[in-house]
Amino acid sequence: MKSRKNKNAGNQEKEPLSRKEQVVDTLKLPKDLLLGASIVTLTGNREAWIENYRGIVEYSDTFVLLQGKACQIGILGKELSIDYYTNEDMKITGYIECVRYE
């Protein structure tokens, strides 16, 4: 009984994968296409290249908040500017201090 309790506690800590996620994971399909996961590519702390997002929620020179398909992506830093912005991808330059998923 004791061991069963422990097992349940472990399951609560780790969030179970959804059916779709399990299929994508098993078949090793691209997650960005099927799950709409955002791709964030960082080059040092000076450049961030982001794909798969819905739009900008907030933008100041210290914080950029983007709406992804599953979650929001926050980029904190200094002197942040958007090098270019299209429907597909965008590039943020500046001194990036933190990337946060909300």
Binding site: R54, I56, Y59, S60, D61, L80, S81, I82, Y85
Partner: protein, 415 residues
Amino acid sequence: MEAFFHSLRGYVRIRVWGYSPERFINLCANRDILLWDIENHGAYYTMCISLAGFWQLRPITAKTKTRAAILQRYGLPFFLPRVKKRGIFLAGLAGCLLFLYLMSHYIWTIEIEGNTALTTDLLLTYLEENRIAQGTKKSALDIEALEKGIRRRFPIVTWTSARLEGTKLVIQIRENDRSAPQIEEAVKSGMDLEAERGGRIVRMVTRSGVPLVKIGDEVEAGQVLVSGAVPVYGEDAAVREYMFCQADADIYLEYPLRYTERIPTVCRYKTYSGDKKTVPYLQICGVELRMPFGKPDFERSDCVVSVKQAQVFGGLTLPFCYGSYCYREYSMSEKTYTKDQMLTLCEEKLAHVMETLEEKGVQILQKDVKIEKGSRYYVMEADFTVVEKTGKTVPGKIKDPPVREESKDTGSGSG
């Protein structure tokens, strides 16, 4: 490249402010309007937008309750109307471009690479004979015929390649170490290796041919060291015939070398006053244009000429050379060397000689240097013992096969 296309189509830098600038940016992206260099300035945003995109902004600004104002205009669509009024400038620009376009149809520089035995002047003269010179039309040039012509005219050239780089004709050639008659000679009677100078052989490795000397032998200049005629012996141990080849060997000679240098005790040298005069120089299509009034009236002067070929877009050479003549005034001064100065000078000269010898592949085994003071000269005598590679390829001395008497005997025996 992207910036060039933006400039070609025209773009504006705008300031956006109002209720929801972020939504304004999102809507622009959704309608495929490219925005770049987006910056936040607190109360307002600045960004670049293409001219075509700017005309589509009205519904977006209305929807997002923002306002957009142009800060700056960039690109060709804004530049052209401004210069439209300046007809002469436009005509000049068009004329310049036309001139460049027309000039790009001609050859303005000829570069020859890879020639050692054939001089560049010789090749240029050959090209001129074939009507290829500065100012020849590119379309009149038949590259294949030119390559073939060079190979035919100069048998020493084994490979040639000609190509056009903008207005530059580049000819690359590769020369054979031996000319065609020499190769024929090698096949007929072989090539011997002979000593270029006298000395004692200290090292020797023969790769082909018959060595006629051995390590420790004293040889004289012109003596055959390795023969290109390899004898084939018959059953009676007599030479039946010769097989000819090109003798090949590494032979090192040890010999004494004397170097003498007379250095005058009094040295005359130029003292520059610091006065300079620079005269501009221009050369158009080979004709030199120098300013008639520019030459200075210095009593003694030397001249440094610097010339540059006019080039545009990296490889497009134009038929202009420009530069300057720099006249520098000087006076002659005399100085008598002290003993220490003379010793330093001798050491420098000796070091230079040794460096030159080593560059030539000469190994110095021993050196003995004497410096004697004369009335007007210091005489430095350096006796070196050096080791140098030798072996000059010459046509073989054995040409005729030996007379075979045995054939007669065999004939009579059988008869």
